[in-house]
Symmetry: C2
Subunit: 505 residues, 2 copies
């Protein structure tokens, strides 16, 4: 007797999982190890494997097996039914965009990325605009096809690729709540902080010592170095699969925190991957539940756990030991003040928790307008600068500080930006419930103990993989649907803390 | 009009080349970067890609295209005709062994490798024997099927996988010539060297300094670090593709030479890969011409070029500069004496040029006997020890120094060992002609100039890729068919050099 359609599908998707792992390693190597001159060779390897992956996933055999398996799900456990649903989801996404369009988009994106780099070197948007326009046209076609296939509005179909189950309505509601409170809160927070500016942390912090510190903290957090690595790259990122996870960061000798926090942000991603359900690791249902939830895990660790007073109490003696520093500027309160500094700036990746969502709102509105045709690509630079001025009161000095700062649109990633803001909001909602249920959390963090934290996250988030939609997961973990309320409560408490309560803490 | 069958084949094999490159990177990473606990994950990735590679190569489409292209080769250039021949060769080798047998052999080899490691830890052959026996049985089946498909004797079919165009008759003739001269030559060389023993090179040579020296020498040799890397691993090896070549070595702090020479041996391999015909890099005809020729290139660099007086003249000031050493033991003559030291020993990988072929002869005879059934696996240990005694006058103290020292048979590599000896013989034959035609070679090497050396090798060897059989390549480059005569002349001159000529040199 041959295996059931469902069991045959598990075999097929196990193979696809192995392909994904290989592709991930090829990308990691390209960013971390590969000699500079080998990009063309690597490009061909990635294209060959991606093409084959797409062909295997969209093969008629898979469709036939899915139809047969879904026609009769009796006898399947709930994880298996969810797995079938995720298999279908992956196949539907892959088949909706014709191979020719995928290839045209990949080529246009590759050209646009090169021109984006050139335009950045010159600081001028104009030379990049026609290439971005080509990408926008192709993404528009893709969004229309994807929307038809998934029965979603075009932009929602793009969002669904990155953050399944999240719609424009969810995003709009979130941004409405945030834009009601954040602008005034930013003013108030800056006023509070100006009253007690931190002492500067001057000095040189050699990369080797920063690395030793980072490794020690990551070990304490629970990163398994027998199944993962920390390396350095231009931008921090996480690649790999749960059995072999690769995290990177970038150490800046003048900055004692940025390399460590970059690594901890990525460790948040990695811990999510590592906590995915062991039994389903090579199946679609065993994957993460998309970018928004993924970003919630990295932000929860970096922003909420590590930029907190209890964590700084744990970290402070390590800074003293690793860098041999001393003096009042290395006191817990002064270090903490550095970690929660609020400043209006032009650059998204340098932004703090309070101003960050405003950067995302701008991008969200602009990318929807670009795709709908409401905004012409040639007018993007001006629209960007005007948007920054009205939202943050800052006018970028040039396009480098403006619409040339992010790579996302150049490489065709539209619908991706909202996941950053969604991630922050989801993180705050989870963290609020987590703090209620893990009562001794602050004491544990101050001792460098993370088992309570991750115990809760594994049960409520990581261990569910892709079994349920994000909204359902959030309701299970917090009792509430997605809402910005917890985030606003969290930032109000953190950034409007009065001087009295500080002294008492 | 659709592309011609030949052009379609080029596209198919371009894709296969990209798969090979990806597989090579996965193996490199596993040996150099991968966390220890990730072997299972990597194993699944390798298996998935290898299976797919095999499926693509043996697909009916390829066979149909090959039949159509080979039915009418009019209008094809000679490189294209040779490319077709190599495509067919790859497909014939791949299709001759049924997938089920390939999978059984892979599993048995994987088990045997694990048991080989255990047996080494205990120093006992017995526990490994049944697992080796399983591998031998499966390799015997494979050799029979491969032999039928390729119209070769079973063992010749195995040799053909590694060293195409080389037969048992070639190997027998070579070993006959070598065994007539080497035993007495070893005695004479040892007697000469005992008359003037070198001063010891004591000291600690930190890995970091050895690495800096090795990088400097590799740069001088011409290794392109913008398209390649040097790393460290348990055993030196070369992986990658010509546009992204990865070389490794192992630095031993007590040994000033082994890490450098390991890297230079692998650089010889890499320079061969890098010299392959640029226009055919992603096609079968653009690949190397097998293991024997490959090993000739690494041995030519390590043994003939780098273990020579002119090279030591170039190297000596670098040793002084990198390690701050001084004294008579660091003179050119003393260093050279270390590099050409002849010693009878039990371990193949530690053997010098003179005793090395005797180690290979033993393995060649034993593996043929194992496959034919003439020798039972349970009697291997005794046969090995007896063979060592009769050939080298050395009886291994235990199986660790005996039949457990090499991994090759455990992982199913039979027919591979002869390529090491063939490589040495081919290298000597090429080097003899090279020295006649590049008249200023010694002066160039003493100045650290390698352009003359590689200019000749590129024209006569590297640039031909897999266009012609090894024998034809050798005739073109040296005017003579494969023969051990040059090797014997070379080792006689090098190892029986009289004290007078040393003084004059």
């Amino acid at each position: 007797m041959s295996a059931s359609p469902y069991k045959q599908l598990e075999q097929e998707f196990k193979r696809l999982h192995a392909f994904r792992g290989a592709l991930s390693l090829l990308r990691w190597d390209a960013a971390v190890m590969m000699p500079r001159g080998s990009a063309d060779v690597r490009g061909e390897q990635l294209a060959a494997l991606e093409t084959e992956y797409h062909a295997l996933l969209t093969a008629p055999k898979i469709t036939r097996l899915l139809d047969r398996a879904q026609a009769n799900t009796q006898g399947l456990a709930d994880w298996q039914v969810a797995n079938l649903r995720e298999m279908r989801r992956q196949r539907d996404h892959a088949i909706a965009t014709p191979v020719a369009l995928v290839a045209r988009l990949a080529k246009a994106a590759s050209r646009a990325e090169a021109r984006w780099l050139e335009a950045r070197a010159q600081g001028k948007f104009e030379s990049f605009a026609p290439h971005l326009e080509e990408v926008v046209h192709l993404v528009r076609d893709k969004a229309a096809l994807l929307g038809q296939a998934l029965n979603l509005a075009p932009y929602d179909a793009l969002v669904d690729e990155f953050s399944p189950g999240i719609t424009t309505a969810d995003i709009d509601a979130m941004f409405k709540a945030l834009s009601r409170r954040l602008p005034s809160l930013i003013r108030e927070a800056i006023a509070v902080q100006e009253g007690r500016p931190p002492l500067p942390l001057a000095g040189k912090f050699p990369a080797g010592k920063q690395r030793a510190l980072t490794l020690e903290v990551m070990k304490a957090v629970g990163f398994p170095f027998d199944r993962g690595r920390l390396d350095e790259s231009e931008q921090p990122f996480t690649e790999g699969v749960p059995g072999d996870i690769r995290v990177t960061t970038r150490f800046v000798p003048e900055d004692v925190f940025s390399g460590l926090l970059g690594a901890l942000h990525e460790t948040g991603h990695a811990m999510y991957d590592l906590g995915l359900p062991q039994d389903w690791r090579d199946q679609p249902v065993g994957r993460d539940r998309g970018m928004a939830l993924g970003e919630s895990q990295s932000l929860l660790i970096e922003m909420m756990v590590c930029r907190s007073r209890p964590f700084v109490r744990y970290l402070q003696p390590l800074l003293v030991r690793h860098f041999g520093v001393s003096g009042p500027e290395w006191d817990v309160e002064n270090l903490y003040a550095h970690l929660i500094r609020v400043q209006r700036g032009a650059i998204r990746v340098d932004a703090d928790e309070l101003t960050y969502p405003l950067h995302i709102m701008l991008r969200y509105e602009l990318e929807k307008q670009l795709l709908s045709g409401e905004l012409a690509v040639r007018d993007l630079s001006e629209a960007w600068n005007a948007g920054m001025e009205s939202r943050l009161g800052i006018r970028p000095a040039n396009d480098l500080e403006g619409c040339l700062q992010d790579i996302h649109w150049a490489v065709g990633s539209f619908g991706y930006f909202p996941s950053y803001a969604l991630g922050a909001v989801i993180a705050a909602q989870l963290y609020e419930s987590l703090r209620v249920e893990v009562t001794a959390l602050d004491e544990q963090l101050a001792r460098g103990e993370f088992a309570g934290l991750f115990g809760w996250l594994r049960t409520q988030v990581h261990g569910l993989g892709a079994k349920v939609p994000v909204q359902e997961l959030l309701k299970g973990a917090t009792g509430k649907p997605l809402s910005a309320t917890s985030f606003i409560r969290y930032v109000e408490a953190k950034y409007l803390e009065s001087a009295t309560s500080v002294a008492a803490a």
